[in-house]
């Protein structure tokens, strides 16, 4: 090693002294940089026809951020994305369901029989583990494969920063950061992805607010539940020609309600647990660019497919096992499921739901998608319905579901409404919880993120239940 001819400490000391002499040169230096940059740009760039596209961008911006059109366009776009995702996903979901829940399912049972596997084993593996996996994939994959490309297309196009631009004031007043608009939007696809997206927010305080409130964005996994319940209970309230529209509006209402709760919760958090200064906010609004449709489709579908498959395997499979066990393990002659449901029924009734729903939500912590199948299974099993196999999640069409829930389960309009609300306001799914822990590295905040929506959910549903009963409506 060569010996230093000059002591580093001396350099530091000299630098300090010189700093006093020179003063703050930063400004001057930056000016030099920009002057040089402008000079070079002048030399190097010729701009014959710039005006034309410049004006197009401007006019589009004038509309998308205007006082009259800005918000309606945003809500309209949300509605369009919702509609495209749901209607687009229907058919592939049906195919996947037939493939996985019929053919492969039956095939697996045949294999089990051929191997002379004991009933409990084939039940556990096929009816429990496999079925949950298959359900998540067939219900989850198609909507995500549509939503995320749509989202990425909007992102490529350059529209997303405009959303943040439009909503920033609302977020600032709520004590949060404008970029939360983007993470909130991402959360409509998947809350775990929304939580990861909060990395764009520098300030830890504002980032935490964005993370904790992300669950109020109605993620893809909850849309099927919302639509099904809305169709059965809300759609039934209006004449048939309007029922589809009414259900869609009901779901849109819940989604927008979620946005309002996001603001309210952010406001509450920034006044209590997460007090602090609003950080500096600057946002670049890039020029609009024609999106590369095929490329985007390809990459987002691949990304999303992998994520959903991973989640199905890791999260849903154990949940399926538990469901099967609940239905098939008996204590004192009664299944575990019956015990749990009975135990939770009082609490359920108190908040306008029932024990079956609560058990289903506990079991469905790994994945929101399996709430309804679990509810159906439990309802049929406990109602002693013919053809109900214990511990087997059911795939049923809307009519059959309606008759099971109302006829056997005794569900009312109150149950339906409160379920839609509870679906919006309950703890995040386990993938999201894990992601929150990974991103925050804090047990405390993860607990807050789990507890806040749950508490809000209980309070809201209880209030509605009791008001409805007081008014004699339920």
């Amino acid at each position: 090693m060569s010996e230093e001819a000059v002591n580093p400490q001396k350099i530091i000391a000299d630098a300090k002294a010189l700093r006093e002499e020179v003063g703050d040169f930063h400004d001057g230096f930056v000016e030099s940089v920009y002057t040089q940059a402008a000079h070079i740009a002048d030399e190097v760039v010729a701009r014959p026809g710039e005006q034309h596209h410049f004006d197009f961008d401007r006019s589009l911006d004038r509309v998308l951020t205007s006082r009259t059109w800005g918000f309606p366009v945003m809500i309209l776009l949300l509605g369009i994305v919702l509609w495209l995702t749901i209607s687009g996903a229907n058919i592939p979901s049906g195919w996947l369901a037939t493939l996985l829940l019929d053919w492969v399912y039956n095939g697996l049972h045949s294999i089990m029989a051929a191997l002379s596997a004991p009933l409990w084993l084939s039940g556990f593996l096929v009816d429990g583990v496999y079925l949950a996996l298959a359900w998540v994939v067939s219900v989850m994959l198609p909507p995500m494969a549509i939503f995320f490309p749509l989202f990425t297309l909007l992102e490529d196009f350059g529209y997303l920063p405009r959303i943040a631009f439009n909503l920033d004031r609302a977020f600032a007043k709520a004590g949060a950061h404008g970029k939360q608009a983007l993470t909130m939007t991402m959360g409509f696809g998947c809350n775990a992805a929304g939580v990861v997206a909060t990395r764009v927010i520098d300030s830890p305080r504002e980032r935490l607010i964005a993370i904790i409130t992300n669950n109020f964005s109605l993620c893809n996994g909850r849309w099927p539940t919302q639509i099904l319940i809305a169709t059965i209970f809300i759609g039934a309230l209006v004449p048939v020609t309007w029922s589809a529209t009414a259900s869609m509006l009901a779901v849109l209402f819940v989604a927008v309600l979620g946005v309002f709760v996001t603001f309210a919760a952010s406001w509450g958090l920034s006044r209590t647990l997460l007090k602090g200064e609003t950080s500096t906010f600057s946002l670049e609004l890039p020029p609009y660019r024609p999106p590369r449709i095929l490329q985007t489709l390809y990459t987002s579908v691949i990304d999303r497919t992998l994520i959903v498959l991973w989640r199905a395997a890791v999260m849903a499979a154990p949940a399926g096992a538990i469901i099967w066990l609940l239905g098939n393990v008996h204590i004192g002659g009664v299944s575990l499921a019956a015990h749990l449901v009975g135990f939770l029924n009082p609490l359920g009734w108190f908040i306008g739901l029932n024990g079956v729903i609560l058990v289903a939500y506990i079991v469905a912590i790994p994945a929101n998608e399996i709430v309804i199948p679990t509810v159906l299974m439990l309802t049929m099993m406990l109602g002693g319905a013919a053809g109900a196999q214990a511990g087997v999640m059911v795939d049923a069409g809307t009519h059959e579901t309606a008759s099971v829930l109302v006829g056997i389960g005794g569900w009312t309009l109150l149950t339906g409404i409160n379920l839609m609300l509870f679906s919006l306001l309950h703890n995040p799914c386990s993938t999201t919880i894990m992601t929150i822990y990974q991103e925050t590295k804090s047990l405390k905040w993860t607990i807050v993120a789990v507890a806040l929506p749950l508490v809000l959910g209980f309070v809201t549903t209880a209030t509605i239940a009791w008001v409805a009963r007081a008014l004699g409506l339920a």
Partner: protein, 276 residues
């Protein structure tokens, strides 16, 4: 952090102070690569598209160690050599007023990539040059990727990349990463600079202020004496004069000395280093 395995003890002494341990600290796991390439640029320049175009599916995302900032890393091969590409956070400058800038700056200075590619938006040249100049202060081995050329065309802009290269003193490669145009040229330019075949001579910003110029001159003299061969002496001097705590520490602890004594990674035999 574990710095050595048995393998390293068998190598000549100079290798023990090579930057590979620093790289491990910065999160790079040593493996079979020949060159390290850093990818810098302003936000919204299509940097991630360039990254994807270069690495295809051979990439993964994680975090910068100890931070919550995402980092993507990938590989590409060219001319039988393997290049490891590190995507730095998109920043407007390297003056370290935020975590992103700190990460980018630290990696370029301490990680000593063989090449730093700065992605620039052809439709916003003027404002993107700020970062280019700052990168050119820290290292000579710069390639400018003039991206979004298709957008420039769409807006009716004609950007003369040869003139730009002359003005900047570094290679400038026009690309439209979205349609994979210019990527082959970019890879070639990266290889030429990394292997030393091409040695860019960046035209740095002239210091107008006489007092500042003198102060910088004095410090550069001392720095050159203390750390002979330091390529970014002028930048280090400017940072010291600005009161930059990280750089001050690097000078005090002699960290800069390690950088200077480092051998080029490409001339080392490929070695497996114990992970931290």
């Amino acid at each position: 952090m574990g710095r050595t395995t048995e393998n390293i003890h068998e190598l000549p002494a100079a290798c023990r102070s090579c930057p590979v341990p620093q790289l491990t600290q910065l999160g790079i796991k040593a493996g079979k690569w020949d060159y390290i390439v850093a990818l810098a640029g302003n936000p919204n320049t299509g940097k991630s598209t360039v990254f994807n175009a270069l690495t295809g599916l051979r990439q993964h995302t994680g975090n910068w160690p100890g931070k919550t900032v995402t980092r993507a890393e990938g590989l590409f091969r060219y001319d039988e050599k393997t290049f490891r590409l590190v995507d730095l956070p998109g920043t407007y400058s390297l003056l370290a007023t935020s975590e992103d800038e700190e990460i980018a700056r630290d990696f370029i200075l301490f990680g000593q990539p063989d090449v730093t590619v700065v992605v620039v938006d052809a439709t916003r040249l003027e404002r993107n040059l700020n970062l280019v100049f700052q990168v050119m202060e820290i290292t000579d081995r710069v390639v400018v990727c003039l991206n979004l050329m298709d957008e420039a065309e769409r807006h009716g802009l004609d950007v003369n990349h040869r003139a730009l290269a002359r003005e900047l003193g570094v290679p400038v490669v026009p690309t439209s990463a979205r349609s994979n145009e210019g990527i082959a040229d970019l890879v070639q330019a990266i290889e030429e600079v990394a292997s030393g075949e091409r040695s860019p001579r960046p035209n740095r910003i002239a210091i107008d202020d006489a007092k500042l110029g003198q102060a910088v001159g004095r410090l550069v003299e001392q720095l050159a004496a203390a750390f002979p061969g330091l390529p970014s002496a002028r930048w280090v001097a400017l940072r010291l004069l600005d009161g930059d705590t990280r750089i001050t520490k690097a000078v005090q602890t002699g960290e800069l000395r390690d950088l200077v004594n480092a051998q080029r990674i490409s001339t080392l035999p490929t070695l497996e280093v114990a992970r931290a």
